[in-house]
Symmetry: D2
Subunit: 331 residues, 4 copies
């Protein structure tokens, strides 16, 4: 009964099916039929013109998006615990050619206009200090917290006011939209680009980067090739993304994961370090308690000395979630 992460879960049957259907040779790279359908599919989803490209990882998605907004001598405002800062092996430094991450604070790994200002207002407007060129937020955040539409709108407004690019890392965007119960467009506000995560949500090896400025997408296409991310059988990636969108599979899968998380959360009471909004739980548990759970065959990561992280996935068995809930209640 695995609650280690959603990032290695099995692939959804619909995704498999779409991949098999794409087997027949088609144009290489992104000249194939499924790849050519991405722009329209995301334009429909977001209710406005956009351009979308597939890419194999969230790290590449984030970095390709940011590279269209940030010059090498600039910086990206992000949360101190953002994935791009903590867990991407320095990829932003690579893709942005040495640009700097400018760290901001915020509860639940969420930025606010106030914490962003606190990070950038002290930067002297001279050449000795790295100037911000963009803001990046994570929806849902590293602690599974979701930006409400008005929160994301306020950050977008600040970005506009300061002439900064605005990127949303949506590795778990589906879980956020499922929780917020709003439109995808409302969940990103005036973002210039979104990393639209699929892999944690039932795909195998395809994320999408959605650009709301077609010129940015053009640049990203060159950068994708230059980063060795333009696969010759790209149709298999496009097929995965389209399968996720088809019939709102992306939302159904996220709702299932969120429901499992909610089931477990119900048993955690004030053990919870963060309110559970998406599919991650950060739960105060002593070493002995964690040992007890592991003895019952539950898999999860320690989170510091006194807590654990549980992550549900699209295919988490409700019975497993219920079992975990009972086990925690029984501690």
């Amino acid at each position: 009964m695995m609650f280690l992460s959603d990032n290695a879960a099995a692939v959804h049957p619909n995704v498999w099916e779409a991949m098999r259907a794409a087997d027949a040779a088609d144009s290489p790279y992104d000249g194939d039929v499924p790849s050519q359908r991405l722009d329209a599919a995301f334009s429909e989803l977001f209710g406005r013109e956009c351009a979308a490209i597939w890419v194999a990882t969230g790290t590449a998605a984030n970095c390709l998006a940011l590279a269209t907004m940030v010059q090498p001598h600039g910086g990206v405002v992000c949360h101190r615990e953002a994935h791009i800062e903590v867990d991407e092996g320095g990829a932003p430094g690579f893709y942005l050619h040495g640009a700097k991450l400018l760290l901001a604070e915020g509860e639940g790994a969420k930025l606010t206009p106030a914490t962003i200002r606190a990070a950038i207002d002290p930067i002297r407007d001279d050449v000795h200090q790295v100037q911000p060129h963009a803001i990046s937020v994570t929806q849902a955040s590293e602690y599974g917290r979701c930006y409400r539409p008005q929160e994301i709108a306020a950050i977008g407004a600040l970005a506009k006011e300061r002439a900064l690019g605005f990127h949303v890392d949506g590795a778990r965007f589906a879980n956020a939209v499922a929780f917020l119960d709003c439109s995808p467009a409302e969940a990103i506000g005036s973002a210039d680009a979104l990393s639209f995560g699929c892999i944690k949500n039932g795909a195998m090896s395809a994320e999408a980067v959605v650009f709301f400025d077609p010129a940015a997408a053009d640049i990203a296409r060159y950068r994708r090739k230059r980063a060795g991310h333009l696969q010759s059988k790209g149709r298999f990636l496009a097929a995965q993304v389209l399968a996720m969108l088809e019939g709102d599979l992306w939302l159904d899968n996220a709702r299932a994961a969120n429901a499992a998380a909610g089931e477990i959360a119900g048993a955690c009471g004030d053990r919870l370090l963060h309110p559970v909004e998406a599919n991650e739980l950060f739960v105060r548990l002593t070493p002995a308690e964690r040992e007890a759970l592991r003895a019952q065959d539950f898999g999860f990561y320690d989170w510091g000395a006194d807590a654990a992280r549980f992550v549900t996935a699209w295919n988490s068995d409700p019975a497993d979630a219920a079992a975990l809930a009972r086990a925690i209640s029984g501690l």
Copy 2:
């Protein structure tokens, strides 16, 4: 009847099967069982200790390999028509942080010790000129020509003599080994790293980079993550590579492609611009002749004004190859 390229061909059934078998959740990234088997599988194949990592494209494979040999202020000797120079969108400049490609000549897009020396001996040994740090050759070359074991050994010896790294781009390594009928080890000589191509040969989205120096592989693992190429469901890539190695599928597939190319070559006579050794044919054909072939439903690329390129694949239908041979004979 498609002879456009092998790079978008269908995926071999064994590869599909191995991918399906890998569906059950396993450790993320490359902690899974199939990924952990790669080192041993390639050590056996090459008869010496090596370390291997998967990656999604040949471009990434080449660049990650070179990045272990070349400092940012150095250069890579390669053929003027090498893929890394001509067709990778500047990826080497990105991955090597501005290092330079130092272009050399050679018939059939093959380097020789003499052409390498001709390229590097005039470089003044001072800080004003970019010094070579590595040599990269393509086996089989961009014109489908194969380095004989003694040829590759001679280049390896030169690399050692000059203290240069030595990389083999093996996007079509299987076709080369199938043609040379030698051991894989003989086909790369003293190379420090090999891009072992699978995608053109029946895989979907996995190449391997094989390092004969474990320290280099360690660096490459960091660089792979930093380049956004460490997929969380990496087991699906490892499974593809292992399926290609299993029972020598990689060689069987290459032999089939080579055989189809040979069948067509037999009909081309002195139309051939290059001897056909692997699975590519460069054939002198007037515009009218090309039109005639296309009217018979053959697909291929023009190669300049007076020639065409045909590429066979692991699944080229022998009947199609025979039909093309007849059509060319009949021109």
Copy 3:
């Protein structure tokens, strides 16, 4: 009697004097009075608004200029023998973050619209090939040849037509303008930026980069700091540049160097490999002849097996030039 290079010649007395006059403490970096005068001085020189920054070397000047025009995934068209390609130790690869130099041909190391087109027209307009973002020419060229106003205008027109940036490397711009006897503005046409050389022409350690787009200068100021080129006692660099402009010292110095070169050229007849327009001579001389000249205490570099390069400087003694002329005549 040294004709090795102008790049290590003594510093002109006026430059020394200006530097001494700048000794008293002033604002650091480029907040000092002399630095603040640069924009106006160059705006007057070129008869239109421009922004100018000092920098310590021609390599940094060229690269900072180009970095405002070329994205990391793009390329710069330059001559195969351009300084940025041959003699800057890979600096463009560093400053442009891996962008590529796209090499073009042209007699006397001068590009023409035709040779530029020949270099870029074959580049497929797709992500697999590096697209040109800028053109860089050298005025005077590496062989001391000067672009006539109409020639430079034609290249500028091509740059505009193709939406490319246009940079002029003017390491010996003074010698070119002295030869062309035209206005500085005519000698650069519609260039977006000029590396205005001073060091080879009597300064110690200051070149200027002149930007005709103020937004580009703003970027270059950040990039200059980021490259460690923003000196805290920048007033000493500004003073050098202003001293060169004052009373047209830059042109007087260049005329003296050109005159010395002309004196020598008169004795060379058909030994000249290139017409002498600026202050460099490329002279066919056998090894024995070169030995004979060196025996008479003339210093110069060999230029391949059968020629020599002589360079005159602002302070070349006319008597030395006459002596060299006589010695060559007497061979």
Copy 4:
């Protein structure tokens, strides 16, 4: 009466004299006589073999030194308030090709083995997090605090234990050694490279980078050229550095600056935010007090809302220092 900074002070007469003496043409770049003397001069100063290169700024010195120790995918441990983090416009990101600064704490902007460990021990030893490759300390620190020999030795020992490079930013190294009254060697311990500052201490435009590993110096020479920092009239930079070393001018100048700072410090009592060890004073002063001092014609920078920074220089007039001391006493 200027106490703004030492970074724009006048040039010492001995330095001027040495520069004038270097005027006669010599070999370009660093082939000249003064440049060739640097290695020996610093080897004598430090009592062991070393190799030294000149460079025009402290930023370039720091970055070239670090580039020999840190791979692009690695990180540099430095203090949160280190110059490389705060005031170099992102130069480390540029020179290190995206490597990351890993921030550590410490009183007075000084690191300790404990604060370094606190910064790096939590870094997971996997490819998802940037691993430390080097430690950089500033001697004297950004608050004018000096590492005692045993303190620097302890950090050096930690660097060795963890196989990290060890760099000392010595922009005000002279002031530190003058304060510590130890040998230069003791002041850097087992550092691999030192940025030996001259500009703040009476030079015009030359710092030295001293490498205790000759292989590192070789790499740095290539990187210096590649960064556009190899000046063709490099003899003028070498002459400055040698003039500073000659007769221990560097120490005499630093002692004068330190003495002036000490004079002022004596009047500051518990207004001092940091003990005064070198030539910088951070003094608690209300806005009104600062206004009063400025009305008496003292120049200095505000340091936050309630303090001011005063910096003395090699040429601070003792009378001015005494006057400032009196003025502060009289507040």
